[in-house]
Every structure is written in C-alpha cells, then in structure tokens.
Symmetry: C2
Subunit: 332 residues, 2 copies
DNA sequence: CTGAAAGCGCTAACAG
DNA sequence: CTGTTAGCGCTTTCAG
C-alpha cells in the first residue's frame, strides 16, 4: 500500500480511503482517485485481508458447517450460499462434521479463533445450550438449518420434518392402502430422525394403526445405512409393506438393497424418502419423496444471515418455516 | 492475551511464548507455564488467528478449488484433504468453480488477498501461464489434480486420463467386440475431455476402426450433459453400440436417458464411464468404469502440499502418476 | 528465564 | 479534500 501511495504521490491513508469500500463519507478528488487507481493497476496491488480484518474486526468470511459432504441434500444449499456470499465479496469456510460430536465442537472452536462474520450450520450433535453459550460468547450471528434446534438466540430455517412426514405417511395409509409401515430413523436419536419419527408415529396413531416392534429401525444417515435397514426388515418374519426413510439417501439405499436381493419396488415394498436429490431420479423406480426447494432454502439462509451481519436485524432468534410438497414417482 | 497475562501475573509476551507453538527455543519455567495455562483455562481464552497470521505471515489455512460440488468424484478427495488438514490444525477454504473461467480467476484473486498457506485445485479453465504467473507472484505452494496441467511450477497428481481411457476403449473393442464406439467429451475442450478423448482416438486407431462423424459429442460435465448426449446419439441414423463417457456423471446420465426412452443397457447400448461414484452402483445396471482410489488421491494431494508448506520440498513442480483399474459391472 | 518494545498491513479518528 | 497518528492482537527481537 505504501508502494501504491508513493507511485501515486499521495499518503498511504489516502490510498486506504479510496480502496476501502466502507469509508465513503470522506470525499476524494476525482483526480487523486484516478492516480491511485492507476497505481493500483500498475502494481497489481491486492489489499491484505488479514490486516484489514485485524483492524476492522470483520473478516469478510462466513463459515458453513454441513453434516456430510457426500449427501447431495447439502449441495444446492452450499452452492446457493456460496453464490450469495460471492456476490457480496465474502469468502466461505466449509466444514464437514460427518455427524461427529468432536467435529462439531471443533468447528465452534475454529470460528472462535478465526472470527468469521456469520455462520450457517446444520447441527446434529451440539445441544441448544452449547450453541447458545457459543453465541453469547462470540456474538457471531448464527443461522441453523433444521427444526431440531430450539431457536433462542439463533435464527432457524426448517420445521418441515414433523408435518411433512405426517402428511407423507398419512398419504401412504389413505391413498396407497398400506397398514404395515416401517420407519428408518437415525442412530443416537440424532436430528432430524426423532422429529420425522414423531410425524410417522402421529400418522400411524391417527389412522389407528399399531407400530409393531421392529418397524422403527435406527441407522446411519447414508446409503449404506438404508441398505442395512432393508436387510434387517427382510430378516423379519412379517416385514412392513411400506417403508419411510428419514432421508433420501437411506430410502435409496433401501431400494437398492431390496432389488439386489431380488425384491420388487414398489410391488413388494413401497419406499418413500425425505428430500429430493439427483440419485432419486437415477434409481429405478424413481423415489417418491418429500420435496423442498433446496436452492431457495440456501438463498434464504444466506440472506437471513446477512441481515444480521449487516446489522439490519438484532435480538432473539427468528424461525422460518420451509414449504414442501409430496412428489409421487415410481417407488410407491 | 493481556487478561491472561494479568491473571497469571506475567507479561503478555510470556503468555505468547507459552501459547505459540513455534517458539520452543526459549525455555519457560514449568511454574510460569502452569500459571499461564491455568489462566487460559479459566478465561477460556482462544488466540486470535487473524492477529497471529498478520504477524507470522502464515494463515494456518489451505484453500481447495473444485470443479463442481455436485460431482461426487470430488467428495472423497475433499474429505480426505479436510481430514489431513484437520489433523494439522489447518482450516480449509473451499471454492466451487462450476467450471466457469471467472470463478477460477476470482479464486486466484481471493487467495492473493487472503493469503493461504497452500492450495489444492482442479483447474479447468485457467491456462498454465495464468497459473504459473500466480505462483510466481504469490509464492503460495499449489498442487493440481489432473494431468491436464503442465507441471512447471506446481505439483500435479494425475495422468490417468489418456492411458486409462485407451485401455478401457481397447477392452471394449477386443473383449466386448464393439466396433462402433462413441465418446462423450466436454464442451470448450475443457480438461479432462481432450486427454481422455485422445486415449479413445488412439485405441480406435490402433484397432483400425474409424471414428465416424457424430461419434464424438461435447457436453457439460454433468448428469444432464450425459442425458443430452444420449439424446443426440439416438437421433443418429446409425448410432454407436458402445459409448464411453468422459466422466461417471455423464455416463450415468446417458444410461438414465437411454432407459427412459425404452432402450436396454447393455443390450442396445454398452455404456462405460470414468471414476467410481456412489451413483455408479445405484443405477441398474451398475456402471462399468475406470476406478481410482479417490480417498488415497486426496490424502496424497494434501501430504504433497504440506511437504512444500513445511519447506521440506522446494523447486520445480513434481508429477505423481495415479493408478487405476477397470471394474466391470453390468453396463457393458 | 522474563519483560519491554517494535511492527505485521491496514482503517479511522483527528487535525488541518 | 488530504496527511499524521494511533492502534487491531499477536510474535519476536533485544535487553536484562
């Protein structure tokens, strides 16, 4: 910056004024501005964000913590957030928790040491208390994806799990005539398993159907989790005729496993999932599933976060209910 | 840090000595060290990485630029890099180029402004000159994935495209008896399309087979790219009997489209791809493909990068040839 | 073994 | 409208 100043024949602080976006309150003569811009051009100068961050206490960086980079559910969301961030000259730090507690905690420590201006996260293992304590301490705006989080201090986008699963299972019962319905949930009662399971249970209860032992299985939130679950159902003497997987990956894994063992979907097993990912329309039959507009959710997350980053909004956490719809394809 | 110093009854610089990992040359009394560690614990102090970076000119951060977050090819690689980085207390900045030139250039600008200690990238649009110029200017170690890059100043891991495609196409000819073979390449001659296409052409030439007009199609590196390509083949009066997709996503898209239009794979069309992703074993028939050990490649990329970051290696770029194997599944 | 002090590259008062 | 100056929170000489 000194070099630029020397070349332009001005002081270093004048260069800073021209280059730092914020300070538009101080007027600069058009001539000086041009001299400086030319010097910047000639030297190919790029401001040092580290120094700028230290001084301004803002990093021009947001952090995203997702549960599983292999889960295509996150991709449109991450992409949308990146796009919004990019348009505002923000960089994005991405972290992958793999649904492991230590990784989630570590993420919090990381953003405490390397202050970011805002955080989007899909917490699975962290408790509401831990999250609240973090926010109290760091004062970094946080927005969470998923109704699993109580919204005391952070904004939340979600709330589809219980009602959408209820609607889906009720549809399986009323429109498709199923009475023996299984539900593949998550290990360790990790979100969003329990919320979706509640929707399933309520739908079964409202229809007067019993949930037999072995109907609810708990597995990893992955393709293989779904495969293992299907394997377990097939070992049962009287397995369900329909299965709802708490996410799309598990549902697809279940279809894949059923077919590998010679069963037909949907004739032998009707299988339904939650969320729409590319794999849902790669497998045959295509997956009947709960569809949310994922890119839209991503944009929403980013924009709500930036409201707080920009100081337009403060105060207690807000809740944003996402929309959904049931899309019938071949798997039911 | 001042607060910690006050609580421990020492000077701020002593606290720094205890906390900063590097300075082990200066001895500290065990008593003082304990006092400081206790104070850190009590206050829950976390060092400010921004300030540390400004002072040390190191960021404890590496950046990754991938071509497409939706392409599962990158997931095991990114995950492996993150794991290696995490083990060394490095954070990871991820950027998604979507194979767009502006995004790749912008990535370079970003890491120039926010100096990272090292870069892993899968360049598609940047020229060797641009990359070299960047390295000359920034002195940041860069490692690239893919043989598409001439390795003058940066390390490269790759080199499978031409030989692996040659082997695959030769196998299609000799073992599977195909004579009319199509190749789906990338738009704008974007890597790794051309390198793989060369392997295809060489195999056809060596077998004395002619490449008819319309055999080589150019499409986006995505599922939809593959679908469109298949659509085009089907409009031809005399389409190929076997098709090699330059990546797995395109090959799977081609299978999906063929089936949607009532054709059978592999009876009507034998389809083969490059790289193994989860979707390859979701679709029926499963994709016959060139398999590389992706997590291993990720670890390799990270470790080679850290060799330079740690100063163990310097000098001209090195080249690391990856291994591969052909895995026959149902699609051929 | 520990403290004082300089300075990383920038921004933002404060003067003029 | 522009220059001078004081830090942001650390690390690292230089003294002692």
């Amino acid at each position: 910056m000194h070099d630029v100043a020397r070349l332009a024949g001005v002081s270093q602080s004048t260069v800073s004024r021209v280059l730092s976006t914020s300070t538009s309150q101080v007027p600069i003569s058009e001539e000086t501005r041009q001299k400086i811009l030319n010097a910047v051009q000639e030297l190919g100068y790029q401001p040092n964000m580290t120094a700028r961050s230290l001084r301004t206490q803002r990093s021009q960086m947001i952090a995203i913590m997702i549960g599983d980079i292999s889960n295509a559910f996150y991709h449109p969301i991450v992409r949308a957030i990146q796009d919004v961030a990019r348009a505002r000259d923000y960089d994005v730090l991405i972290s992958n928790s793999d649904h492991v507690y230590e990784n989630e905690r570590r993420f919090l420590d990381t953003v405490l040491r390397r202050p970011v201006d805002g955080i989007v996260m899909a917490p699975h293992r962290l408790s509401t208390e831990e999250l609240d304590q973090f926010i109290l301490r760091s004062h970094i705006p946080v927005i969470a994806l998923g109704a699993q989080v109580e919204h005391t201090l952070m904004d939340v986008v979600g709330g589809t799990s219980e009602p959408a699963t209820y609607e889906a299972v009720a549809w399986l019962i009323q429109e498709k005539g199923h009475r023996r319905i299984g539900f593949i949930s998550t290990i360790d009662d990790m979100p969003p398993g329990p919320a979706r399971c509640k929707g399933y249970q309520r739908a079964m209860l409202d229809a007067g159907l019993s949930i037999e032992p072995g109907y609810i299985l708990k597995h990893a939130f992955t393709l293989d989790g779904g495969r293992h679950a299907m394997h377990e159902y097939l070992a049962q003497p009287n397995p369900p005729t329909a299965i709802f997987g708490a996410n799309a990956l598990m549902a697809i894994g279940a279809i894949s496993e059923a077919q590998a063992l010679g069963y037909r979907v949907p004739q032998d097993f009707a299988i339904m999932g939650f969320d729409d990912i590319p794999e849902a329309t790669i497998i045959h039959p295509h997956l009947t599933t709960v569809v949310r507009n994922l890119p839209e959710i991503g944009v929403q997350l980013a924009e709500i976060l930036f409201e707080r980053i920009d100081g337009e909004v403060s105060g207690p956490g807000r809740f944003f209910q996402s929309k959904w719809m049931l899309v019938e394809r071949g798997s039911v």
